[in-house]
Symmetry: none
């Protein structure tokens, strides 16, 4: 079942308690999904770290999707738990993994937040029954266990405690889906839930192999990432083994490789002690593996890889890629703030305002030409949403495709330029839209804007399944007509109707 | 160190003993890399299964790389081991995982193959010292443990026995690199080597969770593929945890999560017994998870996902993607390039041939419009290189900038479509180039090409420092004139000189 086919829920505001790698990751995912966030963390540098995480997530999202992101939610740093959780619709706790600390803070949260707000703990292994014991209205508490980086990894494990009310679990699942995640229900409450049991088993064995001097951390990572790790990105261990069994499937695989389970391949009965010497050895090997790259650099590399993987899986409609596709279709739903229902005024629409990212430069040091078309596409998407071509409409297989574009470049753009795109409707019929976009750069000091590039475009309305053009639906045509009327009095752009010629 | 920077070795012929999922996978990888293969397997349907594996591998390779593959090697099915291994340069044994069987067949192999041919065993866990004990010239024996599907997964674990000569290990590593794999040396001989120790630890825990009724095989696979599995595709567990430690890295992570290792999260001390009832349960759950999809269908899905992941990682230069890039550079080496010094002929230049990557799709499921301009830019860059606007010229601050573009979209493009771009020079003067590009999709079966989009463009020559247009250098103008002369007789493209209009 696709994530989008299940209920989603978009709260207006979320309160976060704890702003480390996990809490900051939640903040980034929520804010970029247009949800207001309040966050409390007593660490003095917490705000800086959260802002850095958000900047990294923003960069990743810019590559992740071509769908229009909603206007960012606000991010407020709060001095107390009370301020962070009072009046919000949902609370997510992500403090260090100590039962007594979590229990104490969850009691405080339970006293100060709304009676109908779900309270989720990011714990990676503590039981919700133990966490909720002393809370006011403990039925609100559930585990929502995410994975790092929270803003890109879709998995979140949901686990109820003995006193959790199912309605709160459902609400949490709806929120997680709305922000592009894949909630996985852990049906029986156990320490470590599902994922960390598997991860711990693997990590424990890996630690022994380092401890015994068999292999380095780098060799062990290579043993995963060049091999089984590639498969684990889209199939887990069981489906992989089914295939490895050949045409006879799982039964054959068990017959062939089951006996090896009994071989003494893994260290079963002991846990390697984390002595100072062993920790020093692990840290030294880890430093060598990192080869001077900072954690920030590694995070950028990790995010770039995750973006590529998610996009690759999206094109195959599999696993985390299907979750991404669901979320993107959701993004096409009308979002408050862009005012798609507003009455048109006799001025070009202003649908895009943004900053040019550094990654858009080419070997000439200026913005590469295809990124101009990205900006114009963003404006076209904004226009389509304004006309009512949104999630539901697209889900019925109806959309506008671009058939012709004429670009003129009048100046160059550079990293961190602030630009806006204005859009004028030049003509229309039942199937087609004829538009003219202008990219302008905001000059410093607000001294007027400079026109940088223009695009004249024709879009045609299509029935995607039939692979043919077809008139738009009446409610869209009505919006088109009303915009056309408002734009009728605008001057015809000087560069519209150009043909290319050297003479 | 990139795989390509290390020595490679291309034998003319390889003998394979065992033609199941692993042996057939070896056959496919070798044949598609232009190496002749002889294979022996007593199973009556072995030839059919190997041919099917080869067909699947061929399909995967067609999407995997745009680099020119060598002519396929031959594939000969042999009635005996003697025939399969006599006179070949390298032997790979992939028979079932039983020590006595492998020892016996390896003795036979050792008696009939050349004295200087390395003999590799695909065993996933048996020690090479035990395997080589009774062989003639046992120094030739090593473990080369691959992963399924062998033709796409780059990892191969190399392990020497006590009597293995290093030269044979080096030769095997060279072969594996030459056919696009990443050999990982297991420095200390242990049962299960490195990868399977880690995989077994995870799988054993997963089996317990099913056995105890905590979760189904499908839920456990989801716990991996929506979460940690995505990270494991490019970073193993240690580098991932270093990042999870935040700015303080591995030491902080160990301090925070090390204690959890001592929690009773995993079943350490026992192995679940594979009773008939438990096997039935596993098989039933696996059937449900497969939801009627045959292993062949799952294999196609798996291969498509792996291809996307490898390409995604290639664009980030990481792990298995770097291995792919190395292999592709190797493929380009002996092949004539686009010959930038060639004399122009009276036909459009063919400067771009490539496959459409999955990341280029948008919410309509087809290639997003700015990527058309990326393809046209690639063709323009090719044209500029052809004209001599290369590194040195650019370094002097001279280049061509695009000033105007007219795009027409005639069909859609989808992930993994194979396209080429042709480029015709329509006009020029001392400062300007007027060109017409056409993107065509190659149809399956070579049944002509379909025109997908066109671009008419004007580029102007600039002095970047002076921020002004300026005539191109004489040697560039000479190349332009010679190309213009060759293209003068070409028909004027129908869509050149269009202006946009709804009428």
């Amino acid at each position: 079942v696709a994530d989008l086919d299940q209920p989603t829920w978009r709260p207006a505001s979320v309160g976060l308690v704890g702003g480390g790698v996990i809490g900051g990751g939640w903040a980034a995912r929520l804010v970029l999904n247009g949800i207001d966030v309040r966050i409390h963390d007593p660490a003095p540098d917490s705000a800086r770290r959260v802002e850095e995480l958000l900047a990294g997530a923003r960069r990743a999202f810019a590559s992740l999707t071509a769908s229009p992101l909603p206007p960012e939610g606000s991010l407020r740093f709060c001095d107390s738990i009370e301020e962070a959780v009072g009046g919000v619709d949902f609370v997510q706790e992500s403090v260090p993994e100590r039962l007594e600390l979590k229990r104490e803070l969850l009691v405080t949260i339970s006293l100060h937040t709304c009676d109908d707000a779900p309270i989720a703990s990011s714990t990676s292994g503590l039981r919700p029954t133990d966490l909720q014991a002393a809370m006011r209205l403990p039925e609100r508490l559930l585990v929502g266990h995410p994975f790092n980086p929270v803003y890109l990894i879709p998995l979140v494990e949901l686990c109820a405690g003995e006193r959790t009310a199912p309605a709160f679990l459902d609400r949490a699942a709806g929120l997680y889906r709305a922000i592009g995640m894949h909630p996985l229900r852990v049906r029986r409450e156990i320490d470590g839930f599902l994922a960390d049991r598997l991860l711990e088993a693997l990590w424990r064995e890996a630690l022994w192999l380092v401890h015994d001097g068999i292999a380095t951390v780098s060799e062990l990572d290579d043993a995963i990432r060049y091999g089984a790790g590639l498969r684990w990105a889209f199939m887990g261990t069981f489906l992989t083994y089914r295939i490895a069994g050949g045409e006879l499937g799982m039964r054959h695989f068990l017959a062939q490789f089951g006996p090896a389970l009994a071989l003494p391949w893994t260290k079963l009965s002991e846990v390697p002690e984390l002595t100072d010497e062993f920790i020093d050895e692990l840290v030294a090997q880890s430093d060598e593996q990192a080869a001077g790259r900072s954690v920030a650099e590694l995070e950028r590399l990790r995010d770039a890889c995750l973006v590529s993987l998610l996009q690759g899986l999206r094109s195959n409609g599999v696993g985390a890629g299907a979750t991404l596709a669901s979320w993107e279709r959701g993004l096409m739903a009308p979002v408050a703030g862009t005012a798609p229902d507003a009455e048109p005024v006799p001025a070009p629409l202003q649908l895009v305002v943004r900053e040019i990212p550094p990654g858009w430069m080419d070997y000439n040091g200026h913005m590469t030409e295809s990124r101009y078309l990205d900006l114009f596409s963003e404006a076209t998407d904004g226009l389509l949403r304004w006309l009512g071509v949104t999630g539901d409409y697209l889900a019925r297989g109806r959309s506008y495709f671009t058939v012709e574009t004429h670009l003129s470049h009048l100046a160059q753009l550079f990293a961190q330029d602030r630009v806006k795109v204005s859009t004028q409707l030049l003509g229309h019929d039942r199937k087609r839209l004829h538009v003219f976009h202008v990219i302008s750069r905001s000059r410093e000091g607000g001294d007027g804007d400079q026109v940088v590039a223009t695009a004249e475009q024709v879009m045609i309305h299509v029935d995607i399944a039939a692979r043919s053009s077809t008139p738009a639906d009446p409610q869209v045509l009505a919006r088109v007509a009303s915009l056309a009327q408002a734009h009728a009095a605008l001057p015809h752009p000087e560069r519209a109707g150009r043909r290319i010629s050297l003479s």
